[in-house]
Amino acid sequence: MDRGVHPRWESLSAEPEFRALLRSRRRFVVPATIFFIAYYLALPISAGFWPKAMSRPVLGPLTIAYCFALSQFVMAWILLALYLLRARQFDLAAARLRRRETREVLESK
């Protein structure tokens, strides 16, 4: 945006459209973060404390532990794809706010 434009930060932060963008971002990011940390930590916790149980072969020679480790890659890539899909809406909303604010500030001058 234009360097000469100073958006009205406080009033902008109270606007319903901005609050909605913030909320919809949080509604994705907070559960997704809790989920991936829990899913990830379950691996060292289970492998560390129950190595015997985790050593059972389930997929041919592959043990539960190794399958769980490989599944972390799938988990990471799926969450990445979901976020990229959702982020398109965030981008649209952010661009709308940016355009409007820049126009209004310029008009009020």
């Binding site: 109270a14 901005f18 991936f36 940390i37 492998a47 560390g48 592959l62 490989l70 972390q72 940016r98």
Partner: protein
């Protein structure tokens, strides 16, 4: 291993990167160009550069070796280092691009104005990057001793240091970015080739491949590399694994040299795209470590992974070690060489030698050196930005000073940091400094990550909280490492090798307690503005 082909290949890499540096030096003569390549790097390019900045030689050689020796437990590093990017993606990449200028301290001191926060943030950046830098450069010495035994290590460390300084000082961020992109391409092609060749050896049957990995025999007996517990065993092992996992998964989001890459792209959207590409590239690489490591374990064998001695050298060694004489004599008679002590770092080069002969081995060695070069260049640039932008300009000169001075100080800082790193690495060569990488991750996760997250999301968060949090995280991780088995050996006062499980909560508690002690109206007043900027990109640096 013959030195010549790898030196030739490495020289070709150096030649190409020097041409790139020459081109880059003509592109920009401002400090903004020096630190951020004028924010004109595309998302795809930045994704490759992040992969090139992130995957060090310690990862390429080290993790392949850990998987070869300890199977699943070694692979845990790969998993943690990939999943870590979700934290970067969800929590820091976009807000950082929207609110920062050149450094991590910019993000923190946006609402936490004043000298204290910036000084400590710069100190934490310098600590992390210097530790990481020394670990990489001491690694050059070790790598030379392993791969090119007749090449003097002091010459190699100095050579790598001088090259890194040439890239950074003359080419700035633009040259550093392209060195990282070229290196990431080379590394990815090499690891994929090794992984595919390893599986080809089993006629492309994954079942046969993993079956072989599930019963690997060595002089120590048969082991199943697909089972957990070979490296981390017992209750202490379990806590070590969890503590390491925490530092790996959170630390990346606080590594200054990775975060700095998000200032090189034009927008938050491009920052997100670059994390996406990095996650694809880094993920493919880490999957390949599993195949390289298990391939080395099954095709080369643990007993043969280590420095090989042939003929006269072997006989002289056997004569000096009478205790091992019988076993070594038999090795020499059967194989024509001996492996006096196992060294997991040689798993990847020896796998290459088994699968593709001396050409592939030389290529792997050259790629390993290229890898170090790209990583140290990124680190030096980051350290110089913390020194020149945060300490010199913001703290000492109070924001005054013209462009010529700024650029001069940035280059002088790079020279100082690089010179210091070369000198320290030569002094420390021969020591095992691998723990410095773990330390860098622990400090990043404990000192930086809690403060970054609270600054972005907690209205009440204060300057005192930021300072207390960063100091608590920094001091507790340094102190616990100093008391741990990696430094004190058997007499360790702290049982875990990785301090994350204590130091990360310490950083968080420090930040919360510091905040609750006193209100910081100025910081609270800036919160709305920070939130609007971080979310919408209004007013972002261009």
């Amino acid at each position: 291993m013959t030195a010549q082909p790898s030196l030739v290949m490495f020289s070709i890499f150096v030649g190409i990167t020097l041409v790139v540096t020459g081109w880059a030096s003509g592109q920009s003569r401002t400090s903004r160009g020096f630190y951020t390549a004028d924010r004109r790097i595309g998302g795809l390019q930045n994704g490759w550069a992040i992969a090139g900045d992130y995957v060090s030689a310690a990862t390429f050689l080290g993790i392949t070796g850990l998987v070869a020796f300890y199977g699943f437990d070694g692979f845990m590093y790969s998993v943690g280092w990939l999943v870590a990017y979700l934290a970067v993606l969800f929590l820091v990449a976009e807000p950082l691009r929207n609110t920062g200028k050149y450094t991590l301290a910019d993000l923190m001191s946006f609402r936490l104005r004043g000298r204290g926060v910036r000084a400590i943030a710069a100190l934490s950046t310098l600590t992390i990057t210097l530790f990481y830098l020394i670990a990489q450069m001491v690694g050059v010495g070790a790598l030379v001793n392993l791969l090119l035994p007749r090449f003097p290590d002091v010459v190699a460390i100095t050579g790598v240091g001088v090259l890194m300084l040439v890239y950074v000082i003359f080419g700035g961020m633009l040259a550093t970015t392209w060195v990282q992109i070229i290196k990431a391409g080379l590394l990815l092609v090499t690891s994929l080739a090794l992984a595919v060749l390893a599986v080809r050896h089993f006629n492309f049957s994954l079942g046969t491949f993993f079956s072989a990995a599930s019963s690997v025999s060595s002089s120590a007996g048969t082991s199943n590399l697909l089972e957990p517990g070979l490296l981390f065993h017992g209750p202490i092992g379990a806590w070590n694994l969890i503590s390491l996992g925490l530092a790996l998964v959170l630390g990346t989001a606080g590594l200054p040299h990775i975060l700095m890459r998000f200032f090189t792209v034009p927008s938050a959207k491009a920052a997100r795209t670059s994390v996406a590409w990095a996650m694809v590239l880094v993920g493919v690489f880490y999957l390949a470590t599993s195949f390289m490591g298990l391939g080395a374990a099954t095709l080369v064998g643990k007993d043969h992974i280590g420095r090989r001695m042939y003929a006269g050298q072997a006989i002289a060694y056997i004569a000096r070690h009478p205790a091992q004489q019988t076993a070594l004599d038999e090795q020499l008679r059967k194989k024509g060489y001996i492996v006096p002590t196992p060294d997991s770092n040689l798993a990847a080069p020896l796998l290459a030698s088994q699968l593709g002969g001396s050409f592939l081995t030389a290529f792997v060695a050259a790629v390993a050196f290229a890898t170090i070069l790209a990583v140290v260049a990124g680190l030096t640039l980051t350290a110089s930005s913390a020194f020149a932008h945060d300490i010199w300009f913001s703290l000492i000169r109070g924001g005054r000073g013209d462009e010529t001075e700024h650029l001069f100080v940035a280059r002088a800082a790079a020279l100082t940091v690089g010179g210091l790193a070369i000198a320290l690495s030569i002094a420390l060569r021969g020591f095992n400094v691998a723990f410095l990488v773990g330390l860098a991750f622990a400090v990043a996760a404990s000192a930086n990550v809690p403060v970054i997250l609270l600054a972005l999301s907690w209205r009440r968060f204060s300057r005192l909280g930021a300072i207390a949090g960063m100091l608590a995280g920094l001091v507790s991780s340094l102190a616990l490492i100093a008391l741990s088995p990696v430094v004190m050996g058997d007499r360790a006062l702290f049982p875990l090798e990785n301090p994350g499980i204590i130091s990360i909560p310490a950083g968080l508690i420090g930040a919360v307690v510091g905040t609750l002690l006193a209100r910081d109206r100025e910081s609270e007043a800036m919160f709305d503005q920070l939130q609007v900027r971080a979310t919408t990109g209004l007013g972002a640096e261009v």
